[in-house]
């Protein structure tokens, strides 16, 4: 039986005007978003490379990345210590916490508690759910069951299935703002690669493998539903104000909730039922 869980989420802002690259401090943004210092931080040597800070928020991996012309706040599952057992692909167990963290980031971007330069005004919300399946046929069965009947193909053992639909629309209360709402149903292959090094590190020796144990690779097949809501167009010129930015994100979250219900998936936290997909 399929067990669907959240896999990852990302609240992003894309720049629609030039910014001063040095105006954004990734560690500061991380602290504002996640309330603590990051565990790790990688600076970008120039504005065309990615800077990233990452750490933990409860039982979730939290990241803040600054790529060319965009800023993203991401959530993903924590990989639990394996104690020498086979590598495992983890999903997010608590969908309520996942949803509430996404909502909190959206609200704090709206109030300005998380300070992103105004030029980053194009909202983009990404949420992915997955069910790990033993083989292609089971994965196809799992994904088919979630596809609305009007789109649903007959699948058996076809591999690498992908179906993507975009339903653009205006957002409520701001009909000058249109969003793209992409839904992608797919069967994806994940590989977990585990590198082991003996405590004490490299002990010397001619062999490059001294101190290293053989890497382990484990493949997993996942039926995945991915939602991507991003700004399509704005009737007015100029930068999008914070109210419209927040409204774009909230509409994306609402559309995700509705789409999950239409797919027959019920996740705690994502329980807003309104219009169909």
């Amino acid at each position: 039986m399929s067990l669907w869980k959240p896999l990852s989420g990302r609240v992003g802002l894309v720049a629609s005007a030039p910014t001063t690259p040095s105006a954004i401090s990734v560690p500061s943004l991380y602290r504002e978003a996640w309330g603590a210092d990051p565990h790790g931080f990688q600076q970008a040597p120039n504005a065309l490379m990615v800077a990233m800070a990452q750490g933990r928020k409860g039982n979730l991996n939290a990241t803040c990345t600054v790529a060319p012309n965009r800023v993203d706040f991401g959530l993903s599952p924590v990989n639990q210590p394996s104690m020498g057992s086979e590598p495992k692909l983890n999903l997010i167990d608590d969908s309520t916490v996942f949803h509430s963290e996404l909502l909190r980031i959206i609200n704090e971007l709206g109030t300005g508690a998380i300070k992103v330069p105004d030029q980053f005004d194009r909202a983009a919300l990404f949420v992915q759910f997955a069910s790990i399946e033993p083989n292609v046929m089971e994965a196809n069965r799992a994904i088919s069951a979630t596809i609305p009947e009007r789109y649903r193909p007959k699948l058996t053992n076809e591999e690498a299935f992908v179906l993507q639909v975009n339903l653009p629309r205006a957002i409520p209360q701001h009909d000058d703002v249109r969003v793209n709402f992409l839904t992608k149903w797919s069967v994806e292959q994940f590989q977990v690669f585990s590198l082991a090094v003996q405590a004490g590190g490299f002990q010397g020796g001619a062999s490059a493998q001294a101190g290293m144990l053989a890497p382990r690779i484990q493949s997993f097949l996942g039926a995945c539903i991915t939602f991507d809501c991003s700004l399509a167009s704005v009737a007015k010129t100029g930068l999008l104000d914070r109210e419209r930015r927040a409204a774009t994100f909230l509409e994306g979250l609402r559309l995700v909730s509705n789409a999950l219900v239409e797919s027959g998936l019920n996740f705690k936290g994502f329980s807003n039922v309104n219009t169909t997909h």
């Binding site: 894309v14 720049a15 629609s16 005007a17 030039p18 910014t19 001063t20 690259p21 040597p45 120039n46 504005a47 065309l48 490379m49 790529a67 060319p68 012309n69 965009r70 924590v78 990989n79 639990q80 210590p81 394996s82 104690m83 020498g84 590598p87 692909l89 194009r122 983009a124 591999e159 690498a160 992908v162 993507q164 975009n166 793209n180 992409l182 992608k184 797919s186 069967v187 994806e188 292959q189 994940f190 590989q191 977990v192 690669f193 585990s194 590198l195 082991a196 090094v197 003996q198 405590a199 004490g200 144990l213 991507d228 991003s230 010129t237």
Partner: protein, 171 residues
């Protein structure tokens, strides 16, 4: 099909073994994934060149801060749309010129603080010319397929950097 490589997290297990956890890469079976390595190297080089020009003190080498900001913004949009990385053709304090060249034609993007000018030319004639103020250039990625269409003289399908969809530009 998306392949994600992950490595288990650092931890201490019963035997004295440490395991490193890291997302190594996400790759797509489609052409985009294969382009990314080459694109990345080209844009790393471009980004570094812009940093050096932005930090230079000699007048011959330096570019003004507003030009630096616009050039990075345009380069970021180019990269996000999987456009080949340009070379820096020339620069001065008030502008930077990006260039793409092949045997038949040259494409130039002249970037200043207020204006972006696109030019595609062959030895015989100018094939495409377009000027836009930086205030009106909300989505730079739309400009470059149009330049490519002008270079090729035929419709161009490119990947939209903001969405995982393809766009067609017709000259």
């Amino acid at each position: 099909m998306t392949t994600t490589l992950r490595v288990n997290e650092w931890h201490y297990s019963c035997d004295p073994v440490l395991e490193q956890s890291l997302v190594v890469s996400d790759s797509f079976v489609s052409g985009v994934g294969m382009w990314q390595t080459e694109l990345s190297a080209g844009y790393q080089e471009l980004g570094q060149a812009l940093v050096e020009m932005g930090e230079a003190t000699e007048e011959d080498w330096a570019i003004d801060a507003p030009v630096f900001n616009v050039a990075n913004y345009i380069a970021g949009a180019l990269m996000n749309s999987a456009y080949p990385a340009p070379k820096v053709f020339s620069h001065g304090p008030k502008s930077v010129v990006f260039n793409w060249a092949n045997e038949r034609e040259n494409a130039y993007l002249t970037i200043s603080a207020e204006c972006v000018s696109a030019l595609v030319s062959s030895p015989e004639r100018i094939k495409f010319r377009f000027d836009v103020s930086t205030i009106d250039l909300v989505d730079p990625s739309r400009l470059f397929p149009a330049m490519t269409s002008a270079q090729l003289g035929e419709p161009v399908v490119t990947r939209d950097g903001s969405l995982d969809v393809l766009l067609q530009s017709i000259p």
